[in-house]
Amino acid sequence: MTDEPELSGQDRLAAEFVLRLLDGAELAEATRRQQEEPAFAAAVAEWETRLMPLVESIRPEVPDQGIWERIAARLTEAPAETATIHILRRKAKIWRAYSAAVTAIAAALALVIGLESGTRDPALQVPAPAPAAPAATLIASLAAEGGQAAIVISYDPDTKSLIATPAVLNPAAGRAHELWVIPGAGSPRSLGLVAAGGPQRITLPPALLKALGPEAKLAVSVEPEGGSPTGQPTGPVIASGQLTRI
């Protein structure tokens, strides 16, 4: 019994990915491999072909009439949205190059002046380095399914911003981790990308601040570099949690 063979290697990971048995860092890794490794993508497609016929046992249910109208109304948005994202990405590239140079100079200066050189990964948007832990009244530990803390979020009421500290999750090359707030009712709203490395500050516009009610959930999804192209999570959710008062 204990000697029974198990599915192994790439085939195992592909099957587990198709079933969505994975979470956290393993799910992020499988997502990356599916997008970048043709052999792994093929193994995933084979397992989809093997397992998806299970949906035949799910009873079809006709959705309400209005749903298609709502979809159709949003189809026109899509191409425009994509175009904007391309421009933003170009800007982000320019910003990254600039910010890398500035960081290099700053680091050099810090060494010269003898300050502690707190260099950070200059990639991704413009998060200002967070100061030493402010007195936060709200904190969320976003856990991957296994319960391991993936990222810790604290709310700083003085500056009305969030401090995000990734614990174990570092995005793979070409991928980014995006933080979302899911209000009690309504769609997820992006809080921006979570860079690898040290703590970062995410300043909240007033509209998003309101979304951070007691019902709100926070989640991290895997997205293409530069963030979700659609304004909604497009990749798997690898961690989620809720703000609690401390």
Partner: protein, 191 residues
């Protein structure tokens, strides 16, 4: 193999759906409408099964067809069956939504032990394809606990960690059951 049906009308429906998906991928709104008409009841059923709540499933369905619209360009009819491609997308998006919300309402342990096996219902199995019947047959050959774990993962989006908690076994044990079950399933399907 894909849908594996030998009925000519099923092959024709599949070919038409694949064709509509390809045209949607080139930006045709009416082609996406065709895809929606042919598949929305099935995909809505999947959303409802996983999310368990109608409003949430409706939001998911919109999100799914907007995703179909964006991703249809990457659909390759030579490599994937259109309904497999769509069902996988619908299931994945529903599970992501479930996890973003922090999972389904957790059930007490006693209730978890009594969860009936999500076996196919008789009425809908009438439309089963050859591939579907073979898969059901092969899952039926598995030891109960392995079959139950695989079905629960598929229909409820449960992770290894959740499956282990629900069955009251260590995580490593659950992983072994599932991995053995998956290997046996693969071998059975290849016979």
């Amino acid at each position: 193999m894909a849908d594996g049906s030998s009925r000519p009308e099923a092959d024709e429906a599949r070919r038409r759906l694949a064709d509509a998906l390809v045209r949607a991928g080139r930006g045709s709104h009416s082609a996406l409408a065709e895809v929606y008409d042919a598949t929305s009841a099935k995909l809505f059923g999947i959303c409802l099964r996983i999310l368990g709540e109608r409003g949430e499933a409706e939001d998911a369905l919109q999100d799914i067809y907007l995703n179909v619209w964006r991703k249809a360009g990457s659909f390759d009819p030579e490599r994937a069956s259109p309904i497999t491609w769509l069902a996988a997308l619908a299931r994945n998006r529903s599970i992501d939504r479930l996890r973003a919300r922090g999972g389904r309402v957790s059930e007490p342990v006693e209730a978890a032990l009594q969860i009936p096996d999500p076996a196919p219902d008789a009425a809908s199995s009438l439309e089963a394809s050859e591939a579907g019947s073979r898969l059901s047959g092969c899952i039926g050959e598995l030891e109960n606990r392995k079959a139950h774990a695989i079905r629960t993962a598929f229909f409820e989006g449960a992770t290894y960690a959740e499956l282990a908690v629900r069955s009251g076994v260590p995580l490593g044990t659950m992983k072994s059951w599932v991995r053995r079950g998956l290997l046996q399933l693969k071998e059975c399907l290849e016979r």
